[in-house]
């Protein structure tokens, strides 16, 4: 028998270390040392209910175990074989105790559709992919369905673009299919540029064939025999695995001429990005593939009308494609049974930031942020307080406590002031300054703006400058109005989708954390202490001995005080050189994010 004790950060901070020691002691005492092993495991992810203890082989999952419960578990469960019911998980819906974790809501929260083969097969071996049904959907489509029927399946499934905007995939295929041309293209957008997002890369690295197969299916539907994958050059491993996969698919005749003995031929070539976030925008991506500067152009015309080399082009992102083969094999109804009314299926997120279980997750649409953060993600790191979750990367926004029960789908995230984006999720805790976070994203946008349109090129620069003034304590009240007006105008007038959404990080923090902005502007205070310029050297009256060492070393004579009396620093004069703190032998001088007014009434 095994006793697994969670040794994750969350559980450890609620004494899981002591719990495993007590188990060992108790087992020793009961003479069961050789029969029962105590194992410390990694985080179970269910930190909400920690500390977690799991008994194998019967898979009993105990929650919120306290050190004093260890004896009871051994006596009752290990020796007598009776489960300690009060420590089992109580299903909030059914009000029944659940002992096997597999039947618990939490573990059902993830469902891997797009990631179905990631971590399961050797991505460089096509046989393993075939063993997991790769290319069956393509075979089925080519031998049983017309393009129209296939498009109909995709349409009925409710699949929408996973790159962020959520355009219905089937409809896109249909439109591109209907535009007549001698040549058409299928493009896979694998230019995942969001800082802190790596969903697409994981699919390409873990299951490249799912994408290749889906592109061929798309090609069959729209009447294209050429596919292009635009992949970031910063993803060397994904590039390598794609090359291997394309090569192997060719050897099996699953790509190339007359696939499955039909008239359908399809080939896929790779094109590399070169470090430009804007190339995630489809018109910019197309220009980049043509060897040009990756600048977007106005839509219409849409790529479905005039895309790569002026030909109708269907652009979908990696995750969207990865869903397609499963939909064909399992049916539109199966897919549309997952998710919410308007957003079907699952979505992959890269969960990162101040969270215990950083990683790649895939959940059905409609899962709430709370479930993701506290159940799957295992809660906030180091037991800190949750402050916000940033979704959608630089185009998205920061959502707060009040949005935690929002079911995730395209519409509700947009309504809440953020967006689905490609799937980055960054969790922020109480130590994060929301103005600085907005500034971080604006810094990214300023660096990545292509420069073609004035609102994005200059407007975001000005936004950044205002945010910088705010974090440096140099802002004036009008700056807040300017921020808001600029955000609205940029959103209204920028040329491409990226420009139009670029003010979102500012707008969403302005809406949800206006008090932090106001503190910075009016009180020159950063509550999380992140803004260096808003930290102050303050003398602790209790600790100060009045030795005068600080006064002597201060280069601007900002320190005053009588001998043997607590000294005081005039913040209006202080240049924050730090010499006084270095000099003080009594640790009486500290950096603080606020200070008491130095005005003394005489």
């Amino acid at each position: 028998m095994h006793i697994l004790v969670c040794d994750g950060t969350g559980c450890r901070s609620s004494q899981s270390g002591l719990i495993s020691e007590m188990f060992r002691d108790e087992l020793l005492r009961k003479g069961l040392k050789n029969e029962v092993q105590v194992i410390r495991t990694g985080c179970f992810g269910f930190c909400e209910k920690g500390p977690i203890v799991k008994i194998l082989p019967d898979n009993t999952f105990y929650t919120q175990v306290r050190p004093e419960d260890t004896a009871e578990i051994i006596d009752e469960h290990i020796i007598k074989g009776r489960k300690v019911t009060r420590l089992l998980y109580l299903d909030p819906d059914t009000q029944e105790y659940v002992s096997d974790s597999k039947h618990m809501g939490f573990y059902k929260k993830q469902l891997r559709v797009a990631l179905r083969n990631c971590g399961l097969i050797d991505p460089e071996n096509i046989d393993e992919a075939i063993a997991r049904d790769a290319y069956q959907a393509l075979g089925k489509v080519l031998s049983e369905y017309t393009p129209e029927q296939t498009i109909d399946i995709i349409k009925r499934s409710g699949l929408r673009g996973r790159g962020g905007a959520g355009f219905p995939t089937g409809l896109k295929w249909e439109i591109t299919g209907k535009n007549p041309a001698d040549r058409k293209y299928v493009v896979c957008n694998a230019d995942e540029g969001d800082p802190g997002a790596f969903m697409d890369r994981s699919i390409l690295e873990g299951d490249p064939h799912s994408v290749l197969e889906a592109m061929a299916i798309c090609g069959y539907c729209i009447g294209a025999s050429n596919g292009l994958i635009y992949v970031r050059a910063e993803y060397p491993l994904a590039v390598k695995r794609l090359k291997v996969a394309i090569e192997q698919a060719h050897q099996y005749g699953l790509l190339g001429e007359h696939i499955f003995g039909t008239d359908f031929s399809f080939d896929i070539k790779l094109r590399y990005g070169a470090g430009a976030f804007v190339c995630g925008e489809e018109t910019a991506l197309i220009h980049s593939m043509e060897g040009k500067r990756g600048e977007p152009t106005n839509k219409p015309p849409f790529p479905s009308q005039s895309g790569y080399l002026g030909k109708p082009t269907n652009v979908n992102n990696v995750e969207t494609f990865a869903n397609v083969p499963v939909i064909i094999l399992k049916g539109a109804e199966w897919f549309s049974s997952i998710g919410t009314e308007k957003s079907k299926g699952t979505k992959v997120f890269a969960l990162a930031g101040k969270i215990n279980n950083v990683g790649l997750i895939e959940v059905p649409m409609g899962t709430t942020l709370r479930e993701i953060i506290f159940e799957i993600g295992g809660g906030i790191k180091n037991g800190k307080k949750f402050k916000a979750i940033q979704t959608g990367g630089p185009s998205g926004g920061c959502l707060t406590e009040k949005h935690l029960d929002t079911p995730i789908d395209y519409e509700s995230l947009t309504a809440a002031g953020s967006m689905m984006g490609s799937g980055g999720m960054i969790v922020l805790d109480e130590d994060d300054c929301m103005v600085s976070v907005a500034k971080y994203y604006l810094g990214f946008i300023v660096e990545e703006s292509c420069g073609k349109c004035a609102p994005c090129r200059i407007g975001n620069k000005r936004l950044y400058e205002i945010l910088e003034r705010i974090t440096k304590g140099k802002a004036v009240p009008e700056d807040l109005d300017k921020l808001r007006n600029l955000c609205n105008v940029i959103r209204d007038t920028a040329l491409c989708g990226l420009g139009q959404t670029s003010p979102n990080p500012v707008l969403s923090t302005l809406n949800n954390f206006i008090e932090e902005y106001e503190e910075h502007v009016f009180e020159k205070k950063c509550r999380s202490g992140q803004c260096h310029d808003l930290l102050y050297y303050v003398i602790d009256e209790e600790e100060c001995t009045g030795c005068g060492a600080c006064k002597r070393v201060c280069p601007v004579n900002a320190i005053s005080g009588e001998k043997k009396q607590p000294h005081i620093i005039d913040q209006k004069i202080c240049i924050k050189c730090g010499s006084c703190m270095e000099k003080c032998q009594f640790d009486a001088i500290n950096l603080k994010n606020e200070y008491k007014s130095t005005t003394v009434s005489v």
Binding site: S449, C450, C453
Partner: protein
């Protein structure tokens, strides 16, 4: 064509399918301001990157504002061009653009002609609420063009002109985001780039980012130096455009006033480049006939077609791009340089002035002429044949500076002996004019017959590439004409490939020829202005009594007194030149 019904600013209108909102609005008298948008529609030149976002309008039911210059109308569309949301957005965008623009309007070469300035006035910008860092770059001065790209607003018109229209490829958008700007490769000097100085970038630049090098001050200095004799020549296209700068209707001929103004500015002699245009025809025409005759006699070493060489932008272009074809163009100098060479020899000797004390000024519709007159091969012991070349625009500013009431000036005549010209010299200003002038002379010299109809209508027009076959009394000659360097490239590629069946090709670097030159008054995208200038040139030709170069008495006298005959040794020394490969391509031996 299908008609689309829509509503703009509560007006119900109907326009053809495919019309942009901007055009539809303008058709019905609604003015939507624009900035980056630029169109010479019928000449196939258009620039609508949709980048400045000034022309945004609200389309009901759409989330964002839409750029009216590229958004096509749709059935039932309801458009608001000036509601509060639009006005606020438009003003904010303009404030942003201005926040990254130097505030030196008082000393800017473009002041008063600046589209950004006009727009700021129009939208009532009174302060810049969004002050911040400005993007700054190195200022670059070439012989013809100054690039002060701190003033660049990234409308990309110059890039479009330089690449799509002229295929010169000297300029490209570079960098990214806030630091993006239009510049030559590696931000090198324009002088080191394949720039031809055609000046088309300058002629479309909405701000002072691209301007000509101004030589007015040098000329004022020369005029005020009593030891100098200062003479001036004016190119044909100047007289058809200068009036625009004084509020006259485009296409007004101001030859007489132009002469009078130059005289009042203090020039000692006012001459005409048309005179040396006639001279060019004599030399180039002779060379052409020679090549034809040798060709017909079976001489395979002779290169055909012959290419005209009077356009310095074009000369720079083929030196850069077709260094392998340097023996194809005529060796005749341009009229400006022929004038300079004759002025500083024949004329200087005539009036007994040392060439070093003779200052030759040219008034040109062109910026490449500034570079041309500085070329080493056009200097004798360091003294240039033409000292200064100023543009039509600079002359207008000069006249205003001198407080000359241009409109009130009497018509005056050019001085002798370098002021007399034929109608053939005048039409040099239009695309097709040089070759028409050449045909008038070559025909008569070749056939010995008198032309029945002087006008070769088949050689006229504004299309980029034209061709015609002229019957030289039983000898059909294939003539090609290109205006705009992109069109020239097409014909030159054929020559290079050996598939060209032309005997002679006229090439002008600027769209429309010299009337559309880089130094002409700004047309701000109105191609009607070009058409009127062209018509004015042909009118001037018609008014002339002498319309063939070889009949110009001053030309006849020049040959009899001085040069001998066309193509003589003296003519060659003074009036012909060589070309130099300026390949921007790799010249390493492989």
């Amino acid at each position: 064509m299908e008609m689309i019904k829509l509503t703009i600013d509560n007006k119900k209108i109907e326009v053809a399918e495919g019309t942009t909102i901007l055009k539809a609005a303008r058709q019905f008298g609604i003015d939507i301001p624009t900035l980056c948008h630029f169109e010479l529609g019928d000449m196939g030149i258009e620039n609508k990157p949709g980048g400045c976002r000034i022309c945004v309008v609200e389309i009901e039911g759409r989330r964002n504002l839409a750029p009216s210059c590229i958004t096509e109308v749709q059935e039932g569309m309801v458009v608001n061009t000036h509601n509060i949301r639009v006005i606020n957005a438009r003003r904010t965008v303009l404030e942003l653009i201005i926040s990254d623009h130097p505030f030196d309007c008082l000393v800017c070469a473009k002041s008063g002609q600046c589209e950004l300035q006009h727009l700021a006035t129009q939208l009532g910008i009174r302060e810049i609420p969004y002050k911040g860092e400005q993007s700054t770059y190195r200022k670059d001065t070439s012989p013809s063009i100054i690039r002060d790209i701190d003033k660049c607003i990234l409308c990309r018109r110059c890039e479009m002109m330089c690449n799509q229209v002229q295929t010169v490829g000297a300029l490209s958008a570079i960098n990214r985001g806030f630091m993006s700007v239009v510049a030559p490769a590696f931000e090198m000097n324009l002088e080191d780039s394949p720039c031809t100085y055609c000046g088309q970038c300058v002629s479309v630049c909405p701000t002072g980012a691209l301007t000509e090098v101004d030589h007015t001050n040098d000329i004022i200095r020369a005029l005020s130096d009593p030891s100098k004799t200062v003479i001036v020549q004016t190119a044909p296209a100047v007289r058809a455009a200068l009036g625009e700068e004084f509020g006259m209707e485009p296409g007004t001929l101001v030859t007489g006033k132009l002469v009078a103004a130059l005289r009042r500015l203090g020039f000692d002699y006012v001459f005409d480049t048309d005179f040396s245009a006639d001279l060019t025809i004599m030399e180039e025409g002779t060379e052409f006939l020679n090549r034809i005759k040798r060709h017909m006699a079976g001489d395979t070493s002779v290169r055909l077609p012959i290419l005209t060489s009077c356009c310095p932008g074009w000369v720079n272009f083929f030196e850069h791009n077709f260094p392998d074809l340097l023996d194809v163009p005529s060796t005749a100098k341009s009229p400006q340089q022929m004038f300079g060479a004759i002025a500083k020899t024949y004329f200087a000797d005539k009036i007994g002035v040392n060439r070093n004390d003779l200052v030759v000024v040219s008034i040109m519709p062109c910026l490449a002429k500034k570079y041309e007159c500085q070329r080493n091969e056009f200097k004798v012991n360091g003294n240039p044949d033409v000292d200064y070349s100023i543009s039509t625009r600079e002359l207008a500013a000069f006249i205003k500076l001198a407080n000359i009431d241009f409109l009130d000036l009497p018509d005056e005549d050019f001085d002798d002996p370098l002021g007399e010209s034929s109608g053939a010299g005048v039409i040099f200003g239009n695309t097709g004019g040089v070759i028409e002038a050449a045909c008038r002379t070559a025909y008569e010299l070749y056939t010995g017959k008198k032309l029945e109809k002087i006008e070769f209508e088949e050689l006229r027009g504004l299309e980029g590439i034209r061709s015609a076959t002229i019957d030289f009394d039983g000898l059909p000659l294939n003539i090609g004409i290109a205006n705009g360097l992109g069109n020239a490239r097409k014909l030159l590629d054929e020559v290079r490939a050996g598939t060209s069946n032309y005997h002679a090709i006229e090439i002008m670097a600027c769209p429309g020829g010299c009337i559309g030159g880089g130094g002409q008054p700004y047309h701000h995208g109105n191609s009607e202005i070009l058409r009127r200038r062209a018509a004015a040139i042909y009118t001037e030709d018609e008014r002339k009594t002498i319309r063939k170069s070889h009949e110009n008495p001053s030309i006849i006298r020049l040959y009899s007194e001085f040069l001998g005959e066309p193509g003589s040794k003296k003519s060659h020394c003074l009036l012909h030149t060589h070309y130099f490969p300026k390949s921007n391509e790799v010249t390493i031996h492989r």
